[in-house]
């Protein structure tokens, strides 16, 4: 139970970064931290005590596997996370070229 709560605290740290930081790059990093904590939570839920990785070998046939379904879903999430991060950074670099700053308050004031 303590692991779930620690994981949620990591999520809250990312949320804190998104809310309070004024640098666009820091906001992107906060979003990535939130995504990591979400992946970790899903894998923590799917873990079984003394389970082995879900790879079928003749000797481990009898033993327990951890849940393969969250692992497959999180693999999808990781790749999509890379795509969204690259997209956010592309927008950030575009904004920097137009306004010459990463400060979101100045960007808001400049308009356009």
């Amino acid at each position: 139970m303590i692991l779930y709560i620690l994981c949620f605290i990591l999520f809250l740290v990312g949320l804190y970064g998104v809310i309070t930081r004024r640098n666009v790059i820091k906001i992107v990093l906060g979003i990535c931290i939130m995504e990591y904590s979400l992946n970790l939570l899903l894998i923590l839920i799917g873990y079984v005590d003394e389970g082995v990785a879900p790879i079928v070998v003749r000797e481990t046939m009898a033993s327990k596997f951890v849940d393969p379904l969250p692992q497959a879903m999180v693999l999808t999430v990781i790749v999509i996370g890379l795509a969204t991060t690259a997209m956010l950074l592309a927008i950030a670099i575009r904004v920097y070229k137009k306004h010459g700053t990463f400060d979101i308050r100045e960007i808001k004031n400049l308009k356009g």
Partner: protein, 185 residues
Amino acid sequence: MEVLIAIIIVLMIAGSIYTLHSRDLLSAVISYGITGFGLVICFLLLQAPDLAIAQILVEIITLIIMISVIRISTREDVTERSTIHIKGVRYINMRTAAYIVTGAVFMIALLYFFMDATVLLDPFGVHQVRMSAAYMEVGAAITGSANLVAGVLFDFRAYDTLGEATILITAVIGILTVLRLKGRR
């Protein structure tokens, strides 16, 4: 096991707090690697080797993209003006104090509701395999893949993977559109 993962998660929290507070963007991006590689070690301890491989790859690609972004822009962080000076003494701005109090109350409320919700989850390590029990029984025979994660990803849930590929292509098109050399006015 549980203690080990707890220690790594605490390290990840410390690394991400440093990431969000460092003055230099380059050191922020590098210390962000603490969070990413801590996650890799957690995946390895939680018996998810496929995820660990994918996460290392994604982590390094993200690091390269971010460093190239910082190289062509600036390393300086935005200076924070959260304090005011009256007769040489630093006071926290009233508006900043209001933001801090509101944010703290909001986050404590979120944490409370999450702790309420964890009662519904299984405790760590005694997960009941519900949906993927059938996958485990017949997955290797039907898909012919020894790795059940690959079997689920590319056979039982292949449409999800198709959607993932669509999202990737959309992201690439979006990046090419945003980063076109000559922008229209």
